[in-house]
Amino acid sequence: MKIFRRVIISLLSIASAFLICAILIKIQRNSPIEVYKALYAYGLGSWFSLSSTLNTATPLIFTGVSAAVAFASGVINLGQHGQLLMGAILTAILGVYLNLPGLIGIPVLVVFGGFAGALWAGVAAVLKKFYRMDEFISTLMLNFIAEYFTIYLATYPFLDKKAYVPATRLIKRIYFMPDVSGLSLAFFVAIFSALISYWYIKKTRSGYELRMMGHNINFARIGGCSVELNTTLVLLLTGFLSGLAGGLLILGGTQHRFMKGIGANFGWDGVMIAIIANNSIIETLFYGLFFGALKNGAIGMEFETAVPSEFILLLQAVIVLVVVGARSAIEYYTQWIRSLAKLKKVVSGND
């Protein structure tokens, strides 16, 4: 019942977001129908569109789940962007120099990417544990350091001299992620990671402690949960997930090397997705796919119509506002209406 209601609210909010944006498109003298048609055709319309949507969604799912797990545990990890970059750069470098057979090499490289992300988040964990520094600010600041540190590595020590932009050399061909007619296996790793995370947070003892910390940290502490250890654990775990996103971006993406700007906006999109999904992992998965479709469809929309692909950012923003707003507004007004009905009943019962 509750799940049903949540689905309905989400669908209605998304529909109204599309409606609001249709008006904006119309004001600019474009045809909303044409725009949305193109959005659909390039987002979901064919196997080619669908598979590239799923590929685009892959890093979003990782960063989204990373943020959702952290937020649900009351740990404000906002460092997905930096953790992803650190995972990507390590995988990209090892992919050039490491000599392993492909079958072993790929998982090893992916896991190393994860470790790099975990280690980067671990810096925030150390700062928190020993210097009581808020992870909210430290993860945020570490993003900038990661950004410029990785650019430095790609510009100087590991620069591919033949490239025109700061980029590392192409990784060995045997480490390219295999795909199923265009759909990278990385997508399945993402789904698998999301499901494992779901199981961990919902079913395990540690996951229970994490969720209770998210609800009320004093309750968890007094109840005997290892609050400090768990905070460190969450940072490492969610850093690992973001790092995986980075590693898989190198192995499974299109460039197969670290280039400036490879992290795009995946980190912040992940945070946004987790917020829309109310930190639920399953919902994060769906919103990850949905935003993947929007991103991919945006390219087609730009091809076919006069609307620039940046318009999708507007659509995203409207969806976030409407979904999050509708959730609390609907809750508030249904309660208000119910209280009025109850009042009527009570008053008439007394007369």
Partner: protein, 502 residues
Amino acid sequence: MAFVEMSKIYKVYPPNVVALNGVDLSLERGEIHSIVGENGAGKSTLVRILYGMIKPSSGEIKIDGEKVQISNPSEAMKLGIGMVHQEFMLIPSFKVFENIILGQERSTLGFINRKKAAKTVQQIIDQYGFGVDSNTVVSQLSVAAQQKVEIIKQLYKKAKVLILDEPTAVLTPQESDELFEQITRLKGQGKTIVFISHKLDEVLKISDRITVLRKGQRVTTLENKDVNAIELAKMMIGRNLSQISKRESQPGKEVLSIKHLSVRSNRTNKEVLSNVNLSVRAGEIVGIAGVEGNGQYELVQSIVGTIRPYSGEIIVNDTDLTQAPIRERRKLICYVPQDRKYSGLALKATMLENMIMTHHLKDEFKKGLLALDWKKAYSYAKQAAEQFDILYRSLDEKPEVLSGGNQQKVVVAREFSLGYTLIVLDQPTRGLDIASTEYIRRLILQMRDAGKAILLVSADLDELMQLSDRLYVIKDGKIVAHIDPSKADIHTIGNYMLGVVN
């Protein structure tokens, strides 16, 4: 004609909690009018509506026969209605008169004549005989004196109706008596006092009229004569109150032993507990009495482990826990914290998740390497909820929808079913209605008879007298008396609490 007339007041809190169901209340000039009722009966909601803090769902208020709309406290003040809340709203670093004139400053060209203001305030203080110096800084005043400042503040604003919400909850018996004298004096000057309390003997002592509320409805309003506490309690809870009787305790071996415990405050480095020695044996209830803020909180927190002692030892079941982390302690201690919303419950998690806390550390709820045995957790929670009479619809429901009494039962059910020998109770019945209080007190006695060692910290002296087998009185972080409650009266203990005797 009545001075204040509230009629047919309804209040429904979203989504469907009926707090007030057509309540009438009339206040005369110069009377002390008590409102009694269990928690959740609607006392606070009713007076908050009068004070403009809460908007009624329907109903009307008349003052001197004229219909009025009171939509916020400053409008209430203009109509001469003032309220003293349970939590004081004073600025500790300000002087008494500064607190009193705050928001009502009379200034010339934006400058306050402080000398004149202090003088005006002192005149009011003297007029009503409060015995407070208007130039003292509030933080240096006792709780009782701070309460006086709150009352003076209302008088300064020319309140004609003074609402006192459970004013005696924070006072010792002696201080309460003083408050009653002042209230009576105010009444003599024509003020109307609305007195809210659940202590019936106090109500009977000072009221002219009493309004009894039950479950959001007015049971009756009666003159304070020919009525006694038992009849009043019966009207409040709708049935007879049974007396709690207890058997002689059969203490066994020592379970909790605290030796030379000292705790220093992190902020001021002052000793908040000094050289505390106490022991609790199996099968007995040991009470800790004291005016709040004299080290009770620090004592409990050092046992549970959120505060590190400066020196001394805490031994439970022959295990030295002085340096142990909370997690290890919670494998030996059942603990009901004083504030269920702060640390007793996660209000937005499910009932099941609230019930399984701390139990999840036990081996019996482990499944495989990492997983929690949710099936087993569910059947335990269901059984415990039934055993402890919790009124709930489903274990997926959130505790935030439960009444205060039921929320507390969730905490108690969880902690008592942990089954460890040591039970630490910090204000276990604070803010609960009579029925729930009675229920929980019975449970505590049952636990004692089952051989548990119980440490009971409470601000409610009646509770301590009723339950404790031995009683320590704590003052300024020191144990100042060790008393057999069956051989002492409440005033002796009050004297120790205040430090009048040594």
